[in-house]
């Protein structure tokens, strides 16, 4: 009886897992003009630019590197949501939209959140260990803040 129940549950889960693959989130990289980017406009030092590329741009730019698991539901939903939120809150591909005050504030915020360990998100560094920031990385990033 128990074996039958376990079997039914496993089959049901497999059906659900298969069915949810048809619900794919919006997962695109809109065109990005390199002249509009953080690197081109704010002109950070190479060390800071390297940190940003390594640890920030997957969620905070139009140059997301979508990993294989980002195509499998339900992880795909979570990743797509993080990227959507990330781009809405700070988009390194559209730095030319910021005036001088906002540009300074955003750079300061990047430094602050890295310093407090709020960014990158823990679930991101879990799968991207190279995105974990060292003290040197944080110093390089903070050097771009006014």
């Amino acid at each position: 009886m128990l074996r039958k129940t376990v079997k039914a549950v496993v089959i049901a889960l497999m059906v659900i897992a298969g069915a949810i693959q048809f619900i794919q989130p919006h997962r695109t990289n809109p065109p990005a003009d390199p002249r509009a980017s953080f690197e081109a406009v704010a002109k950070p030092a190479p060390a800071a630019a390297a940190v940003v590329h390594r640890a920030c741009m997957d969620c905070h730019s139009h140059e997301t590197n979508w990993p294989w698991y980002s195509k499998i539901a339900p992880v795909s939903w979570l990743v797509a949501k993080d990227v959507q939120d990330g781009r809405a809150r700070l988009n390194l591909s559209e730095w030319n939209r910021y005036g001088p005050e906002m540009s300074g504030l955003r750079a300061g915020e990047m430094c602050e959140e890295a310093r407090k360990g709020e960014m990158p998100l823990w679930q991101y560094t879990l799968f991207h260990p190279d995105a974990r920031l060292s003290a040197g990385d944080i110093s390089a990033l903070c050097a771009t803040a006014p």
């Binding site: 509009a36 939209r97 602050e112």
Partner: protein, 348 residues
């Protein structure tokens, strides 16, 4: 016996704890988040420094001057009413022969501190901006700069005021100088609010509900665009960043740059006095602040806010309502028309 004492002690502790929970805990605001904001300055200096008093005086007169319009019935103050927080409360304003433009008239208060002017940023500062409506055929509709100068030169008091404001200039009565003077006046149109007192360290300037509202505002992500001195006015953003905005009749900054990246992009408006400056958005189609909060969260952040969150953010936004500088905006007596002053012209 001992067990009974322990039991009674535990009950007492729980009761005291419950009483403590019933009391409202002091609401705190993350100081790090406050770094994204700054209080208003006393005046917004131009590139050349603080505006000269004579320019401010002249600018105040010109701001209220309807004879700068072809029909002599529209002044800056018509659409940017200084006693109504610098707006007219209409979705779009009525200009020459009751024509309407397609964008909402933004408030002129604190406008000098914006990084660019107009919804699409086509003017770099308030001095450059002030020329626009005077010459716009659906706004004040003056036919030429020469016609503007002719109106002003017909009144000796204006000629003298221009000479005082622009000493040493051979021909100071020009549209260019009129706009400079209006800009000089606008640089003092600032509305410090309770929010500024709070930023300067007065913890009591905001109620616990308003502080909680700030936390809701930040948690929702509103400060991604509405930060800095004006909580906006310092960046462009696409309307519909997360969810496409349905009204695509106005493509915003694209009309200036013709760059696809600027389609549906507008200057982010300041939230100072937002409680008083509806209806909202570039098209003026959003009638209430609550609706504006809901739509911004939906289209810009991909969030469905609860009613409680909307109320909470609204409570914070109301702390941005500042004091209107009553003395500074007092309408001056305008020079009387002379025989040489052109008459109102309502012909097309």
């Amino acid at each position: 016996m001992r067990a009974a004492r322990v039991f009674l002690g535990a009950v007492a502790a729980l009761a005291l704890g419950a009483l403590g929970c019933g009391r409202q805990a002091p609401q705190t605001v993350d100081a790090a988040k406050l770094k994204m904001f700054a209080p208003l300055p006393d005046v917004v200096p131009a590139k050349a420094g603080a505006p000269a008093e004579a320019q401010v005086t002249l600018g105040r007169m010109l701001y209220y001057e309807p004879r700068l319009s072809k029909g002599q019935d529209v002044s800056c103050n018509t659409c940017h009413n200084l006693t109504r927080y610098g707006v007219d409360g209409e979705p779009t304003s009525e200009g020459f022969k009751k024509q309407h433009g397609n964008r909402n008239s933004p408030t002129v208060y604190n406008a000098a501190a914006h990084f660019v002017q107009f919804w699409d940023g086509r003017a770099p500062d308030v001095e450059a901006q002030a020329k626009g409506p005077v010459m716009n055929p659906v706004e004040m509709a003056m036919p030429s700069e020469k016609a503007v100068a002719a109106v002003l030169k017909s009144m000796p008091e204006y000629v003298a005021a221009f000479q005082r404001a622009f000493p040493g200039e051979k021909d100071p009565v020009t549209l260019e100088n009129a706009a400079k003077a209006i800009g000089a006046f606008e640089r003092g149109l600032l509305t410090p609010a309770r929010w500024d007192k709070f930023l300067k360290g007065d913890e009591t300037a905001l109620t616990p509900e308003e502080k909680a509202g700030f936390n809701t505002f930040v948690a929702a992500g509103c400060q991604a665009c509405h930060a800095g001195t004006l909580l906006g006015g310092n960046l462009y953003q696409k309307i519909g960043t997360v969810k496409p905005y349905p009204d695509t009749s106005d493509e915003g900054r694209f009309q200036v740059t013709k760059s696809d990246a600027d389609k549906m992009t507008f200057k982010v408006p300041s939230l100072r006095n937002v409680e008083k400056t509806g209806p909202y958005f570039h098209n003026g189609k959003i009638p209430t602040l609550d609706a504006a909060i809901v739509q911004m969260a939906e289209y810009q952040l991909g969030k469905q806010l609860s009613d409680a969150e909307v109320r909470s953010i609204g409570a914070f936004l109301k702390t941005l309502t500042g004091d209107i500088p009553a003395e500074y905006i007092k309408p001056p007596e305008l020079p009387k028309s002379t025989a040489k002053t052109p008459k109102p012209d309502l012909a097309d």
